[in-house]
Amino acid sequence: MSLETLRPTPAFKDVLPIEYSDLVEHGPYNNRGGDGSKQTVKVTDMGKFKEVIEEHPMCAGCAMTLFIRLTYIGMPNPEHTIVVGTAGCGRLAISQASVPFIYGNYGDTNAVASGLKRGLEVRYPNQKKDVVVMAGDGGLIDIGFQGLMHSWFRKEKFTTIMLDNEVYGNTGGQESGMTNHGKVLKMAPRGKFGDKVDALGLAKVAGVDYIARLAPTNPARVARTVRRAIMVAREVGHSYIQAYTSCNIEYSIPTPDVMKDAFEIEKERYGFEEIISPAAKAYLDEVEKKPKKKKSD
């Protein structure tokens, strides 16, 4: 919706909830100009501005929650964004955001997003609408695998973000396709049989235009990566972000050590990586050059 639709009418301003006014006047909705490629809400100011998501019922110390908050800050145009999710921990927070959220059936995210994005293009030929799938490792690589792969093959113009906590957290700690080999979890009493699925490799083979892997160790980088992925999906093709978002409950990570774990895992096997197609690179070069002063987050 346009900012004008969202902006409180002056006459009603004094009776609106303060949260609502804050979102428009001091939140990400009101801090971006033009096409949204320019980041003006700074991650470093987190806590000083109204966020698209504030309340959530996630576990204390959950790294996934931090990543989701950063994702919403990184969105280039939250007022024209629709998020699609499926069952899993993430949706408990995602459904609390001030961005429409489609909570579909099990593993249907990338099919729903395909239809939604195409439908929005038919209905709003002159207004870009960003569609973002945000779902867990199980929701995407296990039950949603077919829809995920085919949305990649079809080069559907939306972004898929995998919240990879390497476990079925919401159902109580079962191993998933993204769990590492040998890990003992529920339903893997003798240790996970196979290897962690190489989702990045699959994305590459499928021709995804922008692929990124990261851990939420560098907040500004998360926001920047999300923004780049959504911009590429808007104009070039599909984009995929795979984020390490540990489950401190099922992996028994003491709450104060969640970020320490993220840094360790990042160093060990989850380092920041971007795989960008030539077309996506050319596009990103173009949009990121536009501002005279290139702002870093």
Partner: protein, 410 residues
């Protein structure tokens, strides 16, 4: 062809090989009031297959997006939808990965606020059932054509409408076309009813596969220069998921999963509203189809109640009974959901015997009729004859059952 005009997305009609001055077929059509299309426009009589009738229906339906996965006997129709897309009568179209993907994607399309069409047959319907059964609760107007085929093992492609019974309790509007003509008319009516604000539900038009889809029959169609009004994404019981409706937080599919009293109430009232909306659709179908039922030979002592192909066979049976001086009535049930309880009661109030022939082994129509007539009608209701697995139902079979019935119930 989402991006023919005004869009900066890479893919355009020109990219896909159309000349620069190409005008999509749909843009050459004129929007006409649905009631005028259904009841007033002149009609030309053709001799075409059910699949071709579906194509002509889709051509006039102002479809924004069609998504399907091929399956016999549906593919005949959905490849026709592809040609309509190529001609510019349908704006967006693709072959999906399989049925869960198809029916999930079409629900995404409907959530965008555009007119969305899909189609399937037997096993495909069963494969996509989780997605299909979530459409009504998501309040997504969708039109699905359902070319019935057996779903049982051993695998077969033959006609049999057992699959319709799986949709009876989903909150979907369910119509059963008797012939090629109905397969032209019903989708257009179903689209208009499903998009009414006080309905906002998906609609399925079932037809018996092969008997109708692959056989020719007379079909009277309206001029192709007229089409239905487009779907108005703003007129809906729930907002489209397009981020155009403040307040921003409209996750209407929110997880009502917390185990507390309020969440139970939310879910139960949501379900009640869905099924109330099914009933509210009846008034539109009465207008569009001239009634939820068709009654032949009212006042008869013997009645046949049927839907789909069984109606055609019953028509011939009662004609032959008429030649022998016996008046047998017929109730054709057009809408299975909403179920025409009062219309059926009214039609059979003086009947002594009711026969319900069906093309499935379960006899779901018999069970439906029994459940609404129980305690409200004095007639004896006999379940049969039934054929399934691809068998045909000879008229003689119905005549024999009627004769036997008259001996059983004096």
């Amino acid at each position: 062809m989402a991006n023919v005009k005004g869009s900066s997305v890479c893919r355009t009609a020109v990219d896909e090989g159309k000349p620069a001055d190409w005008i999509p077929g749909g843009e050459k059509q004129t929007v006409v009031d649905p009631m005028k299309m259904f009841h007033e426009l002149p009609r030309e009589k053709l001799f075409i297959t059910g699949s071709e009738a579906a194509r002509e229906s889709m051509r006039r339906a102002n479809i924004d997006i069609a998504i399907a996965y091929p399956i016999t006997p549906q593919s005949e129709s959905m490849q026709q939808a592809g040609y309509l897309y190529d001609e510019g009568y349908i704006k967006e179209y693709y072959r999906a990965e399989e049925e869960i993907g198809t029916f999930s994607a079409i629900s995404g399309a409907s959530r965008a606020g555009v007119r969305s069409l899909t189609a399937t047959s037997g096993p495909g319907l069963m494969r996509g059932m989780e997605a299909i059964s979530s459409w009504p609760g998501a309040r997504t107007p969708i039109i699905m054509l359902n070319m019935c085929r057996v779903i049982n093992t051993p695998l077969a492609i033959q006609p049999d409408n057992i699959e319709m019974s799986f949709m009876l309790n989903t909150g979907i509007l369910l119509l059963h076309a008797e012939n090629q003509q109905d397969f032209y008319d019903y989708p257009l009516a179903a689209i208009c009813a499903s998009e009414q604000v006080d309905v906002t539900l998906p609609a399925v038009v079932s037809v018996d596969g092969f008997f109708c889809t692959h056989a020719r029959g007379p079909v009277e169609i309206t001029p192709e220069e007229y089409k239905l009004p487009p779907r108005d994404g703003w007129r809906s019981a729930v907002p489209a998921m397009d981020n155009e409706n403040p307040p921003a937080r409209i996750s209407r599919d929110a997880p009502i999963q917390k185990s507390n009293f309020i969440s139970y109430h939310m879910h139960s009232s949501w379900q009640q509203e869905v099924f109330a909306a099914v009933e509210r659709s009846a008034k539109y179908f009465r207008d569009y189809l001239g009634g939820l039922v068709e009654v032949v030979n009212p006042g008869a002592e013997d009645f046949i109640i049927a839907s789909g192909c069984a109606v055609s066979q019953a028509r011939e049976a009662i004609r032959q009974e008429g030649e022998n001086g016996r008046k047998v009535g017929l109730v054709k049930v057009k809408t299975i959901r909403p179920f025409p309880t009062e219309e059926i009661l009214d039609a059979v109030k003086g009947a002594k015997r009711i026969l319900i022939p069906e093309f499935n082994q379960a006899g779901w129509l018999h069970k439906e009729v029994c459940s609404v007539l129980y305690g409200r009608c004095n007639a004896v209701i006999k379940d049969g004859p039934r054929v399934f697995g691809g068998m045909t139902m000879p008229t003689e079979m119905i005549l024999e059952w009627l004769e036997e019935f008259r001996k059983e119930v004096k």
